[in-house]
């Protein structure tokens, strides 16, 4: 687990994949599981990296990006999924393409009981708002799953979430 937690091979490959697919707006709420993607986007002069005060801002930002012909991704933790619910009516109603990468809490090996209610509800909430969920459980899953999600979002116009399991990103120690 510790080795996986500090593995930056898959996050670096994931960043490269997002850029190859033309993603240029990175919206995020700070999160340890996304720190490589966040830091890479901040250091990249060719993308806009947008720190949010709450995750629902990112849903609206990505809709605006699409109106202007750009592709974006929302990086958030599973607790942030709950903050997005009504804003996802914008995505569903206007059929905006939508891609989010969610680092999961409240599941595999979680040591903080506060994380369980939203962590366990995250996929149900996303699916209730018409967001398709794809799960990555191991480092080997990440690129194939993200590639599928990018195609579904930006070629087929769907709303898609990639759920990065706590088994993949490592459970925080308490």
């Amino acid at each position: 687990m510790a080795d996986e937690h500090y593995d930056t091979a898959w996050p670096d490959a994931l960043y490269a994949l997002l850029r190859e697919h033309g993603v240029t707006q990175f919206a995020y709420v700070p999160d340890a599981g996304h720190r490589v993607l966040i830091n890479r986007s901040l250091a990249d002069p060719d993308v806009k990296s947008v720190p949010l005060t709450t995750e629902e801002e990112g849903v609206a930002l990505l809709a605006g990006a699409d109106l202007g012909g750009q592709r974006g991704v929302l990086l958030m933790q599973s607790s942030g999924v709950g903050n997005c619910i009504n804003m996802l009516s914008l995505t569903a109603g206007a059929r905006f393409p939508f891609l989010t990468i969610v680092s999961m809490r409240g599941e595999f090996g979680e040591g903080n009981p506060w994380q369980f209610p939203m962590g366990q509800a995250a996929q149900k909430v996303l699916e209730a708002m018409e967001v398709i969920c794809l799960k990555a459980e191991t480092p080997a899953d990440v690129i194939p799953v993200a590639t599928a999600a990018l195609t579904m979002a930006f070629q087929s116009g769907q709303a898609v979430a990639v759920l990065l399991s706590q088994r993949l990103i490592g459970a925080k120690k308490f």
């Binding site: 707006q25 806009k48 947008v50 720190p51 949010l52 005060t53 709450t54 629902e56 801002e57 990112g58 849903v59 609206a60 930002l61 990505l62 809709a63 605006g64 990006a65 699409d66 109106l67 202007g68 012909g69 750009q70 974006g72 009504n86 804003m87 009516s89 914008l90 109603g93 206007a94 059929r95 905006f96």
Partner: protein
């Protein structure tokens, strides 16, 4: 029920402007902008002012979305001028967006809040601004570089100058009395509005 704290507004005159005259006076060329308009009055008004033009994405729900949608659009279209116009209730629902927009500071984005101090769509309850909350001061505190409050017809010209000629992000608070917005039938099918907006803006 405890009474609400009516915040001191001794430095604000009573709102006198009619939005049906003040909004077109502030934005005389609405077709020149890419517009994201917040739900209810603002969306109705901009659709009426542009004859339901394709350059306007008017919201009918997703309350709180307008400022951040406008930010995403402004970042994607740096050569075009982008206008977010929304009401006090919509802006209050997502005040953090002002802080996020200030951090990004896109020079092509302008924010207008049509502040009637009421929740006009739901029975005209007082909004927080109607009880004294100052959105222009919140915007300034968030870091929006230029803010201006319009209380009288004489002040509209300065607001228009900020929107049209100043090169940079700004926030204009347009204080209006309660009353209806300009209105005409508009599409309430958001996927239709999205598709026509993109078709008019983006190369095929």
């Amino acid at each position: 029920m405890a009474k609400l704290n009516r915040i001191s507004t001794h430095n604000l005159p009573e709102a006198v402007l009619d939005r049906r005259e003040a909004v077109p006076a502030l934005i005389p060329r609405p077709r020149d902008w890419l517009v994201v308009a917040g739900l209810a009055g603002s969306a109705q008004e901009l659709c009426a002012m542009t004859d339901d033009g394709p350059n306007v994405f008017g919201l009918g729900g997703a309350m709180g979305a307008a400022p951040m949608m406008a930010l995403g659009l402004a970042l994607a279209q740096p050569e075009r001028r982008v206008l977010c116009i929304t009401g006090d209730g919509e802006l209050l629902m997502n005040l953090g967006a002002l802080a996020t927009i200030a951090l990004l500071n896109p020079p092509n984005l302008r924010l207008v809040c049509v502040d009637n101090g009421k929740y006009g769509e739901t029975g005209n309850q007082d909004s927080h601004t109607g009880l004294g909350v100052r959105l222009d001061q919140i915007a300034a505190g968030a870091g929006i570089p230029a803010t201006f409050a319009i209380n009288t017809a004489d002040e509209i010209a300065e607001g228009r100058r900020l929107l049209e000629t100043e090169s940079g992000l700004c926030f204009v608070l347009l204080r209006v009395k309660e009353g209806p917005a300009l209105k005409r039938p508009r599409s309430l099918r958001p996927h239709v509005v999205r598709d026509r907006f993109r078709a008019a803006l983006l190369p095929a």
